[in-house]
Symmetry: C2
């Protein structure tokens, strides 16, 4: 029998308790012994929970209980989760977390700390909810030189974009609906401004390329600037707009890492990922493209990943799992302005024919996109692949036009 | 340093040698020590291989070499692969294989044998080529009660069906093209008659549900009966025809397991899996649907999975991985005739109006599918979900019609 404790009885923590209870028999069989929840930390009361007698408001009841071998941190946020996790490791407890903010900010430090204490720090649930992704990268793709990881990592924004693509909803309508259905928070900025995706791509990049990426190093654009009009032009050209987190290895040992809405070609499976689903594509030299797809959020899917980590720790108790990456460095993430991209540009102009000539003069031959019902003063085109900074400067240099949007292509 | 040997220097074995050589440095780092190929068994000569001096035609040079710790079996086929693998295990060598025929026929026995000798027998590459699937099921979805595994497990047939769907090719044209491109063998029956998919679904079912399923227990239909006309009716109704291997748990501890072409709804991501790609969907009570996608065949993708297993064995040398399942039993796989399904039926009749009335009389209200340019004597419809045997009997009982095809729906 192994005693565990849960810190934070919210959506995920409650789901973990439910899965551990509901599937107790098969989990015990797979883990090799029974897993018993001894304590649950939460400031609220849960008189109706089957674990009502095990709740505590005092983290020391967990941190300093020598019987508890594994602590499950599902509080979210950086503080006090960071202090609690550190204290648990200091007191000889392995930790499983679903907290992407914590791992993206402090993963390198906590992994080193766990290693030093010969303990485990696992976080499969921090990326892609229940989708197995960290362990496959760490164990199954080891024969590969992974050179790119990219994906749809945020269910809320993907739901909104799906509604815009399939049901002609405006951005604001899609956001309202997402909020009504409980997919978006009252303050949706963490999702729609890309911060959530940013944290997840930091974790994926760290695991895939072996070195921590801090969220502040990642150029992050959300989907506030994506209009229904952009979605329609993209569709007319054979693309779906998706919020993509993407990290690519460079030959010089540095990486590019970015979060932005991108035009995904219709023949790329990422373009077909709908609603709140997530999908992560990994590119390796031997395997080519592989994709992992599933529910990226929600109580039970995320709990599924947390509990799998717990089972893995119980199976390997007192033995270290080999998940590890180095600390990051200032120059590790290359400025995105040095990257290359193609883009879809939409602009308005009082003299569209003159503007068209100016675009061709500036960009050379471009691919014009036509839309039924397109306003006469609106133009939309796809550029060739070019340097990011050159692209931005060329657009700035166009006179007599108003740039309405510029959305990158997700290319090879 | 760990010595390994490769048995069979064909497409996969050659790929394994190439990946081990090309990515030697990063593989050594991940495995914790250098992995050195000491011997390669093949009856042919490979004078230009960088390993030319290590080839042997005598399996005993591997089986009885005490320095070789891990043997990679990439010969394919049941015999003599089975005898060789058993001899390797008897002589204290862990084994990694890509041989689905071997695992589907003898997996339970070889796993038990490996366990008894405290060795490992790993076979990630036997299903889905390079796609990580066995390890995720075994390690990442452990918190779930998995109740269904289904997927597109054969790249050749999926390539052919894609050509039929997207380029209006006939079955024969698609097969010729697949053969010209090297995707299909001169004798394509293992692929197009479903045997390859059958072996893979047996392995998935065994791992997912814990008990061996023998290929002979699985009702297997290939795609020979799928015509371009069927593909078009399916498209008109919002479906793509895919060859699906599917295993589902029943409440009584038995399972349903089948291989057949099925109509996959367009909003299911499996319908978008194109060309030679494979995808495997796993349904669990906590996680919902997850899908794993990638190249299901080819030298390097398959080698990628083989080498990942080798690295895993090197990391855990002298320690058992916990992959295991029970032997099967005669009544474990429930006859498919007891299952439920909906189906698309296409028939011809000299008196179509009379036939239509007969169909409605026999099936109740059905959904008729219309096609532009449909011959006057042809009818196509979708039935409700019903018992398999009832469906077959009802079709047999229709008089004055010729049943052209009956293809199941891939439903929830």
């Amino acid at each position: 029998m192994v005693y565990v404790a849960i810190m934070g009885h919210g959506v995920v923590g409650g789901g973990v308790a439910e899965v551990l209870r509901k599937n107790a028999a098969s989990i015990a069989k797979k883990a090799g012994q029974e897993i018993v929840i001894k304590r649950i930390l939460d400031l609220r009361e849960f008189p109706d929970s089957p674990y009502a007698d095990r709740f505590t408001k005092n983290p020391d009841d967990i941190i300093h209980d020598p019987e508890i071998a594994i602590v499950i941190e599902t509080m979210g946020g950086l503080h006090p989760a960071y202090e609690f996790v550190k204290a648990c490791l200091e007191n000889g407890k392995s930790v499983v977390t679903s907290n992407k903010e914590l791992v993206a900010a402090k993963g390198d430090e906590l992994l080193a700390f766990a290693k030093q204490h010969n303990l485990n720090f696992l976080f499969e649930a921090s990326v892609g909810g229940g989708i197995p992704i960290l362990r496959p990268i760490n164990q199954c793709l080891t024969a590969n030189e992974v050179y790119e990881i990219a994906g749809i990592l945020n269910g809320t924004t993907n739901f909104m974009l799906t509604k815009m693509i399939e049901e002609d909803m405006s951005f604001d309508e899609a956001l309202s609906l997402a909020q009504r259905l409980g997919y978006a928070e009252r303050d949706p900025s963490a999702d729609i401004d890309g911060h959530d995706t940013c944290r997840k791509v930091c974790i994926l990049a760290a695991l895939g390329f072996g070195k921590h990426v801090y969220p502040a190093q990642v150029h992050t654009e959300g989907i506030r600037g994506v209009s229904l009009t952009d979605v329609k032009y993209a569709a007319a050209a054979g693309y779906a707009i998706k919020l993509i987190g993407r990290a690519r290895a460079r030959d010089d040992g540095r990486i590019f890492c970015m979060v932005a809405p991108m035009l995904v070609p219709k023949d790329n499976l990422l373009s077909d990922v709908r609603d709140v689903f997530n999908a992560i594509m990994v590119r390796g030299d031997a395997i080519g493209d592989v994709m992992f797809y599933g529910r990226g959020a929600g109580a039970l899917p995320t709990a599924s990943a947390v509990v799998a980590d717990v089972i893995d720790e119980v199976k390997h108790i007192a033995r270290r799992k080999m998940i590890f990456w180095e600390s990051g460095s200032d120059d590790y993430v290359c400025p995105y302005t040095e990257d290359q991209t193609a883009a879809m540009v939409r602009l308005t102009a009082d003299l569209p024919e003159t503007a068209k000539a100016a675009v061709t003069a500036a960009f050379g031959e471009v691919r014009w996109i036509a839309l039924i019902g397109q306003p006469e003063n609106e133009l939309c085109f796809l550029t060739e692949v070019q340097n990011e900074q050159t692209l931005a400067q060329t657009l700035q240099g166009l006179s007599g036009v108003q740039i309405q949007s510029c959305i990158r292509l997700f290319g090879e």
